[in-house]
Symmetry: D4
Subunit: 254 residues, 8 copies
């Protein structure tokens, strides 16, 4: 029920076409938001202006296709993350214009916003080539949300001069996403070089005592740079989501 | 050495007053930043315009006093966090204008920016009264950095209507800091209600299987709201630091 | 040996047909229960009036079939949980009237109680579609035990209005089972909305620092709602078992 | 705002004394509960009829006293848990009729319900004498909520005959609370002996690999008895809270 | 109730002085053991012939004294472990003949068995001087149970020749107790040198990643010597208890 | 080199057929044991009289066959544990008289000791049918070492009367091996019923918070019965090895 | 850019062929190393004289081949570690002179240094045959770096005489690499026998509470021998890398 | 027994003054080392030429004094680590020439080697001022062992230019010890800058998810720089011990 709908109910009461008791019952059964819809994604989309995103992990190709279609039909942009090959195939068969990024494991469909201008600038940094799937998930998500993305890959701390060489690119971003596995040291170093928020994404890259990304996660939470916040292991999407919110706030729509 | 300084060295070489060999030696001994200073805090301060902050935990009262004085003498604002009573007493004896917040465990000295206008708006939310020290550390830090702070305390998820009652205050902020111990569920609920970045701070509040904040930390990292990022347990300062960066970016200095 | 049997032994002694020494030996060899049977399931069934349940995980199809048959022959209702497809097929071949719920991974055979009236009312709540297998295991178990079940699915805390919309259904139940993965925050919120026991089931849904359900488990154990108790990860059956005991106590037979 | 209040608002609209727009604004600002109050404890008390409980851990004597007084003044029964000696002294000085249980670390004040009849029957079982503080916290809480309590202490599994000797007392309860540290095996054995819900409370009793109650907690979560649910380590209060809800449901008020 | 007592009950029935119904009731209320006593320690003592042992940790001096006295009065040998200085003082004041071993933290009173011959031979080995309290607890316990004890201390694996020098003493024992902290490697090496059972006791000696004995515990559980079994961290008493059972079985009483 | 061999070297020196310097070199190159062989298994076999055992996990069928043959050729009994089907097939093809126990995953070849009399008596107890592979590994190992084995399976603590029904069998053993997964409570209860050493084997049976046997392991280490010692998860072989040593010591060869 | 290059830039400024502003820009864009190259491996190679090494885990055969070729073309020696069979095949097809070590999972190509003399002496020790892949990775790496390697395998601590028999070989090395799984005790014993650095490599060998090498790792970190340092689980390459640095320092190039 | 002693025994046999049987017995009772002494520290000292070191943690002042005196009397240099104030006082009272370093918590007594020349060069690096106690323990230990030490403190990764400014000092060392708490990132960065072994010491500095140094430890074990090895948390002594062995090997005594 939209804000208008609430007024309508009240107007019906005023008009006498609805008794107070009936109106009370009806208002009680409305969602708290008084927006007239129940799906959280629609809800969120309305509030933030960001397109719909489907988390495809653990869903069958047909389940993902169904959800994808139900979103696409309304004309919005759609993005699916954690898409395996079979699912990607199913989606592309249905939506030939959709774009599959095999590294990022994403399928995106641009509809409403094809000609939208980018808004905000996000740097996506990663330590090694094994971190690419997570970094690309972040980059593609940010681009889907119309941010400009600068990719700065393979700049791990064991060869610090590579990182120093891209300092100016880093400093130019509204927010920086840093993906790293193993010891997860990169966000601290990046955070010390810049004055913008750094969102650290631990990756499950490593072996032995890397414990599937836990070591990187702990390292990032203990960062000595105060501008570092952290998301879950391999959560490139979540990092991009917050980075986009930051970047958009810095670049309010004209 | 400032950017200007680098040019000066090179100009000296051009003028002949410095041999290439001597210049090479001098350039080599300069900090990489070419800014002419070596202290990271000064460095960071110049870059971000944020005052100096001293982490007093594990420092003796006299050590903290010494660092406090070395910063205060330059006329900047100074903030010390994790200040125990004895240290606070020592600081206040030296700087009667400084303000000690016993709950936040902070001592702040406002100098340069006494009449500065606030810039940006941060909501600080906490689940229970035991989370207050962390929430207040965040709030005081944000205020020291000239953000406007709205405190929304004691709004835990077990009484959800209390949280819903402050929805509009939440939606009005540039960034939201949510402090919670025990199961750490509050950031997810807050994140679902708003379209701004939520910075979650797990607190060491709880007993038994709360493991000194680890349970809250894990809960926050697994938040189903994509606009939640996380900092270390009890790290109110770090949360405020990033929140301020976000809020300032949204409110560029006139 | 039934309670009667004990009297019989003693009566035989009184009659002189059994010497005290022989009676002592015989009493010593009896099970403590004095019920004359050794199978714990039969034992439990007699005591509680609940049908037999087979935990099929780690059993071969033929092993499960054999146990299923040994129970079914006595005319009681039979339920098998954690049934994989091959086992389900074997059971259905043998018992065409049995019902296979692929989501819940259960096979149930209703015999004695086909026309039994429901007794008690249980709400089964879950946070997302990935929690369905656990929620359905709980729901089917409760229904097998003749409870009325209200399913309230996909009401996660990141979209709190969805949960609030079903408050009355929640309040109407004798006991509520809440299944959630990731941060496991849902039981706390549900617990705060109602005055009945909430049994929390952490699910192994999530990735990275969800640690296969451990994060949800810890969150639930630290719930700030005092009416929440917890069972093992993915243990929908156990949650339903206790919920049924509670619901039946509130609705004594006839 | 009570249910009545909602009708009143709508009636005012019907009468024309309130415009729909103003009513919309007013309804929006109401707590979701429509009960007209914001304190969760009052809220819970109204719903469940259970007295107020204060968790005193981490609160100063004066803080606890203040909350205690604010509750006591309304004439309800009041219970404080985790009360240290100094706090107990402060409370007793103010309320000479209050009762301090040093083992349970509780202070209770009976006012409204002095002559209330007990409702429901709860057995509190513990494995050893070191578990007494937790067991007593559970027992006192249950008694404060007017349940009849049977204490069955020092019946650990290493001397199983002691437990078997109290089987009938166990079977007579509406719900059983079992407190145990070390290996936490007692709830499984108790659960196998009875057909009522068993609420297991791991205690922090033990040394070495007991890890402050974690071993007992894990053991209880893995109980092979399906009628066992678990609460946090040392959470006697929470166990009693749920046990009371179960017992009261089985004994509806005449 | 002794085995004789059971016969007596049955004889009363035979005599007609007890009705079968009364006898049934009486037998039901007896401990399962039909031994006529309810204290687990007495029970165990009767079965094994070993003296009573009190675990004094977490008990006040007066509590321990009371239990000590209740055991001592029956003339048996009594041992208290984990005795702090204040408790030791209280016990010695009451029983001047008792012996306090400050390193082992034990107080023992020899009564019945003053002239008992030793039975079986146990070697107690430890890696370093910091392991002495645990090793002595084991040694004193074994001696209280009348085993002959050979102490082989300070023979850690980093100086393997020290251990090899005592090979013959090791080989002569019926069972070997090995106490070690840090990496806990000693039991594996000892186990490889001998053909008798080795009971490994991890000690909480160490720092950093020794985790209070967990590292030693894990190392011992993973021993590559198949004759090694393990007890809880610092559990010298438990190791001695089992070692004594083994040694006594090898030396049946003449 | 046998003890005799050492004498031979020294005799050669005495005879003058070996110079002291050459003898020194030769003695230096001998194994410390002065037994003239380097394989630890042979060594152990000589010392303990127990047959050779091969741990086949992680070895290819041909590797296991090769080791099996190298042992079998000397005429001793041979046992291989953790044998997968392919390896079993290879071994049986080579040694048709060998016996493959598919549940225990063992292949045994009886040669030297076909007519050996059993020596000692070991009870092998397990909680549920899923623990059978571990229990059978223990039982078969003990039988290979000529112990008499009593199997007492499916006697878990949730149905305590089943366990009590076998008390006499338990009490008759020289040592008891107890295998249990999930909460691992069984050894404590068994340990409380008997006066012989109990060797607890945690099994990896369970799900969720059973953590592949860790919960059972921790429970067993914290057993409140002092006659319980513990081996690694699923280590049926190790438990049997120590149990056999205990049983043999109690039954010295005539 | 070499050190010479820096001088050249400055000389150009002196000559007037480069303005100070252009020189500043150029210096700024240079890697910090002033070496004129950006690839960290090349960089490291120049500094240490060690050949290039590719970590092939998680790379496709074609990715590894591509990197291998890009390194091989410059004529240096190349080593790939963690090479699976398919990748090895691809590499050998391209470089028939390359050598594949299936146990070590390495492919090495000797080009520049075919006739290089060995420099330094490293002993590689392991506890059991299951540790061979890690030990061989270390040995092959060290040989690729032109160290002389002595392999001392299957000398676990449960048969200590095997280890003592090789004491002189151990003492002769410049550095010793010790690979061990399970309890990880071997480095402590080796460390106690020699006066050279011991680099411990925990292996993921074991089961149950070995936790994939974590137990061995913890044991090694807690070694009571002060000359032991540790690398990540299964990290034979890293151990060899450091061992080679130590050995080369002890044998400076003539 | 020295190597000479062995020959003597054999010579006695040759001379006929010792029978082979007596010689065999004597050789058997000798320590394996054939050095004629049993104390491991003396042993180690002889082998390495390094002074004696006492680990004073957990020792009383008088115990430490006694061991200190027993070493000092032989005229060697003596070092005690982890010395608390009271112990330091006791040692200085006895040895006025000894030097107490309160930060490093060491007391050193230089006797034999007062005029010894330094041998080898070690850099000790730390991230922050809280790491000083560990760094100083390493530095003082290295100096006691006559290494030249360069201290490079407060060069954490969040201000990378500070570290880059000391690159040449780093490159000049034979071995580098890097102490860091929190995220433990410093060794990776240092390791990437130099071609010498880096020994990483995690410190227990930090809060929340630093887990007393575990996070730093894990980060260091996962270092992406292959020249990094790791010691236990806060183990400055162990790091120095190995660093000294490396440095001495590179600078053989003239």
């Amino acid at each position: 029920m939209t804000s208008g709908s609430l007024l309508e109910v009240l107007a019906e009461v005023e008009r006498g076409s609805l008794t107070p008791a009936d109106a009370a019952a009806r208002l009680k059964s409305l969602p708290f938001e008084d927006l007239g819809h129940t799906r959280v994604d629609h809800h969120r989309s309305l509030r933030t202006g960001l397109p719909e995103v489907i988390y495809a992990a653990g869903k069958t190709p047909s389940q993902t296709s169904e959800i994808f279609a139900s979103l696409a039909i309304s004309g919005v942009d759609v993005l699916a993350t954690r898409v395996e090959a079979a699912t990607a195939e199913a989606l592309l068969a249905q939506y030939p214009d959709a774009i599959y990024n095999a590294t990022a494991r994403t399928v995106g469909l641009s509809q409403a916003s094809k000609s939208a201008k980018t808004r905000g600038h996000i740097a996506v940094v990663c330590a090694g080539t094994s971190d690419l799937p997570v970094a690309e998930e972040a980059a593609v998500t940010a681009e889907t949300f119309h941010a400009r993305v600068t990719r700065l890959y393979d700049v791990g701390v064991a060869g610090i001069h590579r990182l120093l060489a891209v300092r100016e690119e880093l400093a130019a971003a509204d927010a920086i996403i840093v993906c790293a596995g193993m010891e997860g040291a990169l966000p601290s170093v990046v955070g010390g070089l810049v004055g913008v928020p750094v969102i650290a994404v631990p990756t499950s890259v490593g072996y032995g005592a890397s414990f599937g990304g836990v070591t990187a996660l702990l390292g990032m939470l203990n960062s000595c740079s105060p501008n570092v916040t952290v998301v879950n292991i391999d959560n490139g999407f979540g990092a991009a989501y917050t980075a986009v919110l930051i970047a958009r706030a810095a670049h309010p729509q004209g």
